[in-house]
């Protein structure tokens, strides 16, 4: 089983630790994950800013990069949505429709891979923290990832997962949206921050690096102490072998 990591642009450039965590966790679970180096972007920023042609170009490169992988796993709910739903749409009735369908069928968010392919019931190790979850809107509604990441997270001993009120609401990131309307994006984030405050969680986690960086940037700006980490980093840290005492 050849499993390719699609690391995503944001993780590659701004939060490589999430990619490293994904690789280490998967290895500890016995998966020899590879990183096809010709991979690029899923194409979502192009599509969302009105350039479907460029998005197709991105997708074609992905077809090639992940050609020989049985599975494509990614830490992002949003990119999963792009590759699973929008990419086939972009190639509907096009010669590469089969390639798009093939890409879509193999793409899984890491937690889905753990649950559906590895049949993991509970993740190893321990992580003591009061945590709340903000999932990716695209992961939820476009990729339909479901609650697998939350389940994986909750399965770690010591993790106290507190439900976030209105967890299904967008945090205001939205990719180009945050850059086009910074104040509006921050106002939406402020509403999300207030909900996070209410949970008294010490740590906010999720499966979309865009949302998490956005929330972190607002926490820092407003002097909040809440930590922000991708759930894979939590899972990886928990699974580290600890010296016996």
């Amino acid at each position: 089983m050849r499993v390719g990591l699609f690391v995503t642009c944001l993780v590659d450039q701004l939060r490589p630790s999430t990619g490293v965590a994904a690789v280490k966790l998967l290895r500890r679970l016995g998966v020899d994950v590879v990183f096809p180096e010709t991979q690029g972007c899923c194409g979502q920023p192009a599509l969302n800013t009105g350039d479907p042609e460029l998005a197709r170009k991105a997708a074609r490169a992905q077809f090639r990069a992940f050609e020989d992988c049985d599975w494509i796993v990614t830490p992002s709910g949003s990119c999963t949505g792009m590759m699973r739903h929008h990419t086939p749409e972009l190639f509907r009735d096009a010669p590469e429709a089969a390639n798009a369908a093939h890409l879509a069928a193999r793409t899984l968010e890491v937690s889905e891979f753990l649950e559906q392919v590895l049949r993991v019931k509970a993740l190893p190790g321990r992580f003591d923290a009061r945590v709340t979850w903000h999932g990716s809107c695209h992961g939820r509604r476009v990729a339909r990832v479901g609650d697998s990441a939350e389940r994986m997270l909750a399965s770690i001993a010591g993790v106290q997962l507190v439900p976030l009120p209105r967890a299904e609401d967008c945090c205001g990131f939205g990719g180009s949206f945050a850059a086009t309307f910074p104040e509006l994006s921050a106002a939406m984030g402020a509403t999300k921050c207030a909900h996070v405050d209410g949970t008294e969680a010490e740590l906010l986690t999720g499966n979309d690096t865009g949302c998490l960086l956005h929330m972190e940037s607002l926490f820092l700006k407003t002097g909040r102490k809440t930590q922000v980490r991708h759930w894979l980093e939590i899972a990886e840290e928990a699974s580290r072998e600890r010296a016996p005492c």
Partner: protein, 478 residues
Amino acid sequence: MLTPEGDFDARSRAALATPALGRAVRGTVDRLRNLRAIAEADADLTRQRRAAATEARTRAIDKLPELLERFTRNCEARGGVVHRAPDAASATAIATSLLRKSGARRVVKGKSMVTEEIELNAALEGAGIEVTETDLGEWIIQLAGEKPSHIILPAIHKTRHDIRALFEKEGGTPLDASTTTLCAHARRRLRERFLAADAGISGANFAVAETGSIALFTNEGNGRLVTSLPRLHLVFLGMERLVENFADLAAMAEVLPRAATGQDLTSYFSIITGPRHRGELDGPEALHVIILDNGRSRLLEDVAFRPVLRCIRCAACLNVCPVYAEIGGHAYGGTYPGPIGAVLTPVLRPEEHAARELADASSLCAACSEACPVGIPLDELLILQRARNATLRPKRALRLALRIALSGLMGDKAHGTSRRLRFVAKVLGAGTPQRRALAKVLPMLARSEAVRALPVIPPQSFRELWKALQAGENTRAR
């Protein structure tokens, strides 16, 4: 019509600068969402109801010309008169001339988004006809000289203190700000108008082709008063609001109130078929239906956007929209706010740049599409509209730069681009002098920095770290 002041960006920033607005809107949409969640709690039943409603609406839109023709025939067979208005100007002209001919001077109006779309009140007032909005929210808005900021709760942005001030000014008597007092005041004042009115104007939630009937879902009862007391009744019907028969109407009644207010059925649901029959002592003596096109035919031809015509204006998409919750409806600048407004306004008014740009007013979280009872893929239509806009947009330098950066990331050269991008990111990272210089010339950058702490660029990208990970693989014991 779009308000001239500024663009969506400017208007939304103005809305954010009024914190009371966001508080009022957020509080109310939150309650509406909870009510809808209860009404739609049975997921299987909700799915079935939505499927039936979507099927009925899709079928109606697919044979719209035929249904319009059947509706017209059947409505006229029951004594109604049907008019077709290709645009706003002709619709208002038909109404004005009908009112003039019947000598009507005083008009009471029920809630109707179509009449907002054609700015009917201004036209009638210009013709010397007194118009009173009688839906409580619409009356508040009329007294304030504003436009509705929500499809079903037009005064959602007003606090009770705003409303008291408006009512005191209108009635000339001091009032307290309790809901009971304010409602009693409205009942008293508007009752006088109802009893004195020569004509009633209403919208229509649906028109039934098979029977020539008009269906109205309301809660306050003003819709019933408008259609029962005056001797003349004018109905404004959006061209797309047809259903084929009563069975389809029943399917719509299953979803509309639940999606809109979380009710199993609205307090009133009236089906009007023609004017009063001989010997009846109330009800209008004459009934006219004015069917408005105003861009809808074009939408019918536009295969991709055609599903928008299914819309039943329930406002569920507004109530779940995180953008709408922060800024309310006026920031959208058009008649229809929220996600449906962002989708509909650009296609109804494609020649207006400001209208087209509303497609950007979304984070594409897709909460709207999930809430829509007739399955309109609002988020995907926004993406499609953005693609259409891109072909028309002036190529500004910033966009071009973004495009070059993006196109480098997309494709087989991504690896090299990643390295170059990294260099740029490091040079321009938070706190560097270059970055400060750049922020001076790029206002968007400065605006971003004013609201958020920019991310610290890590020393190595994942691509660079992968080498080490690979090397470690062979040596480490699992």
